[in-house]
């Protein structure tokens, strides 16, 4: 936050209240952390220091960050195989994330989980599930626990467009609607289920699915973190206030392949399409433009935020590379409570 204060005197006058300025600056910071984290993950993979099957979140940062910015630390999220962004946005630390990806002892799951399985109970992250759609029940159940125990925690279930193929999604929406559970289903439509365009696997309109269960539904530009935030704010407040579940569709795009090894992509999506999203629809660029147009932060302020994140990522990966592997005796620990 120091850098924000430092930049204040240079700012031109603007209308956004201080709280809002700080909120969007911190969202920028979060999105940059995720972006640089993922670039480092890609590098670890390319230099054979990490196994494959890491699914990068680059390009989709505004969804996790915009939604998680509306959550309290004790609210729940469930995540997916493409989960690094969700974890970081909910408050996980970069060094322990890297340690997990490298299978090291200080990792969030002591190296047992890996890229597709990071949970962080302390920040309400119940866990990333590598079974597509697999966490829909879990998020719904966590919301049920909150309601049953008279708490006002909400649960957010992140999932991709592909998960809409799974029957569980519809079973949970039915229950959540009947039981008026404080759960928000956030669909990250990045256009593809692996290598197949979602329109080839998914019939009908996406939001109509939730509406059919009487669930409050909204759809936003998932590259515009302010829009995501505004929509999520409303849905989370509703849920917290006892008005039941919601469904939020976010249109977004992954900049990299389905996983780090997916580099030949032209047979399923064109270079032009990728270029369009990367140059015109990058959530970081979009927010950066808004921040400077509003006079909240200039390019040098943003550069400062990026430098800070870069330093954090570098320190984090060094920490993880230097960290020890778990003891072999840990193999059969944690099978039972």
């Amino acid at each position: 936050m120091t850098q924000v204060q430092a930049s204040r005197p240079t700012r031109k006058s603007h209308s956004a209240p201080a709280e809002e300025r700080e909120r969007f600056l911190s969202m920028y910071r979060q999105m940059v952390r995720i972006r640089l984290f993922e670039e480092q993950v890609n590098d670890l993979y390319k230099t054979a220091r990490m196994p494959g099957l890491a699914h990068l979140y680059s390009g989709e940062e505004a969804v996790a960050v915009g939604v998680c910015a509306t959550l309290r630390r004790d609210d729940y999220i469930t995540s997916t195989h493409r989960g690094h962004g969700h974890c970081l946005a909910k408050g996980a630390s970069i060094d322990r994330m890297f340690a997990e990806l490298l299978g090291k002892a200080p990792g969030y799951c002591r190296g047992k989980g890996g890229s597709m399985h990071i949970a962080d109970q302390d920040t309400g992250n119940l866990g990333a599930n590598a079974i597509v759609g697999g966490s829909a029940g879990i998020a719904t159940g966590a919301a049920f626990a909150s309601k049953m125990r008279g708490q006002d925690r909400v649960a957010v279930c992140f999932f991709g467009d592909g998960a809409l193929g799974q029957g569980l999604l519809y079973e949970v929406m039915n229950m959540a609607s009947l039981w008026k559970l404080p759960v928000i289903y956030v669909c990250e439509n990045n256009l593809y289920n692996e290598y197949t365009h979602y329109t080839e696997t998914t019939a009908g309109a996406l939001t109509e699915r939730a509406k059919a269960f009487g669930i409050h539904t909204d759809a936003v530009d998932g590259q515009d973190v302010r829009a995501v935030y505004a929509a999520a704010r409303q849905l989370v407040d509703r849920a917290r206030g006892g008005d039941g579940p919601a469904f939020l569709l976010c249109d977004t795009y992954r900049f990299y392949g389905h996983h780090v090894g997916d580099i030949q992509r032209t047979y399923y999506r064109s270079k032009e399409e990728e270029e369009h999203w990367k140059t015109q629809r990058d959530p970081l660029i979009l927010l950066g433009q808004w921040l400077s147009a509003e006079g909240i932060a200039g390019e040098s302020d943003l550069e400062h935020l990026r430098d800070e994140a870069r330093a954090e990522v570098e320190a984090g990966v060094r920490f993880a590379l230097d960290a020890p592997f778990p003891e072999l005796s840990e193999v059969d620990q944690h099978v039972y409570a």
């Binding site: 196994p51 494959g52 099957l53 299978g103 090291k104 990792g107 799951c109 002591r110 190296g111 047992k112 989980g113 890996g114 890229s115 597709m116 399985h117 599930n129 590598a130 079974i131 597509v132 759609g133 697999g134 592909g162 998960a163 193929g165 799974q166 029957g167 289920n193 692996e194 290598y195 197949t196 080839e200 696997t201 998914t202 047979y267 399923y268 592997f325 778990p326 072999l328 840990e330 193999v331 059969d332 099978v335």
Partner: protein, 342 residues
Amino acid sequence: MRTIAYRDALREAIRDEMRRDERVFIMGEDIAGYGGTYAVTKGLIDEFGEKRVRDTPLAELVIAGAGIGAALGGLRPIVEIMTANFSLLASDQIINSAAKWHYMFGGQAHVPIVFRMPGGGGAQRGAQHSQMLETMYAHIPGLKVVMPATPYDAKGMLKSAIRDDDPVLFVEHELLYSVKGEVPDESEEYTVPLNRGIVRREGRDVTIVTFSRMVHICMQAAEDLAKEGIAAEVIDLRAIRPIDLELVMDSVKKTNRVVVAEEGWKYYGTGQGIAAMIYEHAFDYLDAPVGHVAGADVPMPYSKPLERAALPTKADVVAAVTAIVPARQAAATPTPAAAGAR
């Protein structure tokens, strides 16, 4: 003979059968344009088109269920489940429907369907992407479960599975797809039965019973054991339901010692089932308890050293054998007492 990879052998089998029988079609996630996660179906769409090589929604339950319905409707579906892990989402349809339709309705209809899926760990994919679940299916009457270890068997058994009138779980292994082996020329038609194991290596001191990827590990172990003067017979079961019990029993009667080796979990599993069959049918022939090599009794850890520790290795097989075969047994002739005990 040619040398081709396991994945190519599978593709040839599918292609041959699709040419032979127009009722055969294949469906699964990302199998058409992309050619499948393990590139088994690559190029099939060019020959057979979208009609018979179909991408499905990301929905294992419906893939399996619709496959069963299609089989009842007169087609011969091959269903690709991306990995065995995801077959758990399809398992209701496989176990409650496919396995039971023929019996439950008094033999009226049969369900000629093949569910192809790879199991296995070893690539640091973590607990939800590294499972061997064949035991679960092998437990179910009405299903056939085959687990070829070589390209030759992969092709020959997949062809048999497609022609079979019962539901067949065709369990591949993620680390077998690139394994190469000899396969007859494309013009040469052959099949491999779904209920016959094979002796991969003859020996008289101990029988190692195994299947799938562990066959290769056991063959290497047998090589090491030979250097220590122990002649191990390696049986590749090729199918675990129905199991070629006769082949196992004949070998046990010869060697009097057995080690069962599998990648999957130990308890209540295929290996223990085989051990129980041996105790039941060949107890009097045994000179030692049946040895058992299996995966650690834990969900698969991600971390490389932990994953290595959780997977059964060549050293584990060698240790299990030397634990039940007396040193230099190969050189010694049986003592009168031991011979009398038989």
